[in-house]
């Protein structure tokens, strides 16, 4: 067979499958962004002073690392969910996992567990996991998971839980501020403990998703087609859902609910690089990290010394970008 045939162009639009030079470049860009983000802030430092300051080591660095970790995690989970459920609207938020976790946090705040080291985070984690168990129970009729039922259950639970959280807020107006923090998401209180809790889970979970990238492609062709092409569909779906749910629950327990990232980042990557998950997932890791890092940096610097909720920045920056890409893509046809 002649080697000159343009196979690579056909499959990947010119770049090799999986992380290539573009991915490395994006990674370097992320590292540069992390450095810049560490430099800016209320207190000005030179690079040397920064290295020696406790603000860098105890406040800015854990915050940057947490933003990067959570951004990567949410994007990877969004990419995985969109393939598993064959639905472009799916992300951790729509499935109800994020809001489930926020209910746990709200209850913990009302019970006065904030004083404990991990009180609120642990409750968020527990209720996030509980939510996904409830959703699975309702949605898995027989042994198979029905995607539509699962999504509808997620959407319904999200509504129910948001209503409960609002209800709790009205009943306990004195604690409203801390509850709002959970529902809007913020990195302001990031600590090394958060990073140490979240990062390992995200690393392992991301590895699981990366391992199943090609299975995600086949799942897009339909569960039955995937099965007849050799994917153990139910097992792979369950494993991926467990990995991603744990990632989301740990992220929400540390930072509160941050919407939009999981939905938009994988879509943007897909619009630019095509639907192959062997590229969508690795690029989403870096793009998501970069996106959330920039959003958080803007959130804490635009109105210094006041802080904006990071969720509003992700929406203000992300939505127009997303719509632009959609529009540009439409015109291409």
């Amino acid at each position: 067979m002649k080697k000159s045939r343009p196979y690579k162009k056909i499959t990947t639009g010119g770049s090799p499958v999986g992380p290539g030079t573009g991915w490395i470049a994006l990674l370097l860009l992320l590292l540069a962004a992390m450095a810049v983000s560490a430099k800016v802030g209320v207190v000005h430092y030179s690079w040397v002073e920064l290295w020696q300051s406790s603000i860098f080591w105890n406040l800015r660095l854990p915050r940057i690392l947490l933003a990067v970790t959570v951004g990567a995690a949410l994007s990877v989970c969004g990419a995985a969910y969109q393939a598993i459920f064959r639905n472009p609207l799916t992300d951790p938020y729509v499935l109800g996992i994020s809001s489930g976790a926020s209910l746990g946090a709200a209850v913990a705040i009302l019970l006065g567990l904030e004083a404990w080291l991990l009180g609120v985070g642990a409750c968020a984690l527990a209720s996030g996991l509980l939510t996904i168990v409830v959703i699975y129970r309702i949605a898995s009729i027989g042994n198979r998971m029905h995607t539509t039922t699962l999504l509808l259950t997620g959407v319904c639970l999200t509504f129910l839980i948001s209503a409960l959280v609002s209800f709790l807020m009205v009943l306990h107006q004195d604690k409203m501020d801390s509850i709002i923090f959970w529902t809007m998401g913020s990195f302001a209180s990031a600590t090394w403990t958060d990073v140490a809790l979240v990062a390992p889970v995200v690393l392992v979970g991301t590895a699981v998703v990366l391992y199943h990238c090609r299975d995600l492609n086949l799942l897009l062709a339909g569960s039955e087609a995937a099965r007849s092409m050799g994917v153990e569909v139910e097992r792979v779906k369950k494993r991926l859902l467990l990995a991603t749910t744990l990632m989301v629950a740990f992220c929400v327990s540390a930072t509160g609910v941050i919407g939009f990232v999981g939905l938009v980042v994988p879509h943007c990557v897909r619009l630019l690089l095509g639907p192959d998950n062997r590229r969508v997932v690795p690029y989403s890791i870096i793009a998501g990290a970069l996106f959330l890092l920039l959003s958080d940096t803007l959130a804490r610097t635009v109105l210094m010394p006041a802080e904006l909720p990071v969720g509003s920045i992700t929406a203000i920056v992300g939505a127009p970008l997303f719509i632009y890409l959609l529009y540009k893509n439409k015109k291409g046809f």
Partner: protein
């Protein structure tokens, strides 16, 4: 050889197939026929391992398919659905490349060999010129041929097709059956085809499995199976055979 041993299958309380006992010989070209809802598709999905029977078992070369992993099964049986799901943006080439999945390890990229096989399968099905096309840029017939190419790329000894031509015009129906006939003759693949057109089946298939209300009504050579009696029982339609073609007229008395 595919063996179905005393298979029964029910969706909830509705018994779809009952006491199916049959064999499909290696290299045969079988038409699976019967009225809508008689259990043809269920039979095919049972053979493909997409459903497991409540009773009985399916064996491929004396091995129960329940003991095979999805991957092993995908190296033996390829399945083409009636309505391929196409709401994704993979090109035809990438779609056919998916058929190589049962031979690839996790985290492993496709080899030159995989690409060569995909090109061969696409040329065979006359879809090579469509390699860059997305699903929404192709016609129903083209899409179905891409799906057949994907099934061929799995390089299985057995090919199952569930009404692959039911949505196509006459010319494309002939195209696809001609293609299947060639595949059957040249590659010796065992083919099970669910098809509604009696004349198409008569022209291209060797054997017939006629299902009536969840049971086997006839099995054997197709020319002897598509008799006026059988067609009347199974479809409620009056038929006459003239020069190897069936002329049909509805049985007005029954309708």
């Amino acid at each position: 050889m595919i063996t179905l041993r005393n298979i029964s299958y029910a969706f909830g309380k509705k018994q779809v197939l009952e006491g199916i006992d049959t064999q499909f010989e290696t290299g045969g070209f079988y038409a699976v026929m019967g009225a809508n809802g008689c259990g043809k598709t269920t039979l095919l999905r049972l053979v493909a391992g997409l459903l497991s029977p409540q009773q009985g078992e399916v064996l491929i070369d004396e091995q129960s398919i329940g003991d095979l992993s999805a991957r092993q099964l995908a190296q033996r049986i390829a399945f083409v659905r009636q309505h391929p799901q196409t709401d994704f943006e993979f090109s035809a080439f990438e779609t056919v490349l998916m058929g190589r999945n049962p031979y690839q390890r996790h985290l492993q990229n496709e080899s030159e060999e995989d690409w060569r096989i995909v090109e061969e399968c696409m040329r065979q099905t006359g879809t090579w010129h469509l390699r860059f096309a997305k699903p929404h840029e192709m016609s129903g017939g083209e899409l179905q041929r891409v799906m057949i190419a994907r099934a061929l790329a799995q390089q299985t000894p057995i090919l199952l097709l569930d009404e692959p031509v039911s949505n196509l015009d006459i010319a494309h129906q002939f195209d696809i059956l001609e293609l299947l006939h060639t595949i059957n003759c040249e590659q010796g693949k065992t083919i099970l085809l669910v098809v509604h057109d009696l004349n198409l089946a008569l022209r291209y298939c060797q054997s017939l499995l006629l299902i009536h209300e969840g049971r086997i009504h006839y099995q054997g050579p197709i020319a002897e199976g598509l008799t006026a009696d059988n067609i009347r029982t199974v479809f409620g339609v009056e038929a006459q055979q003239k020069e190897g073609l069936l002329a049909l007229s509805p049985l007005t008395a029954n309708r």
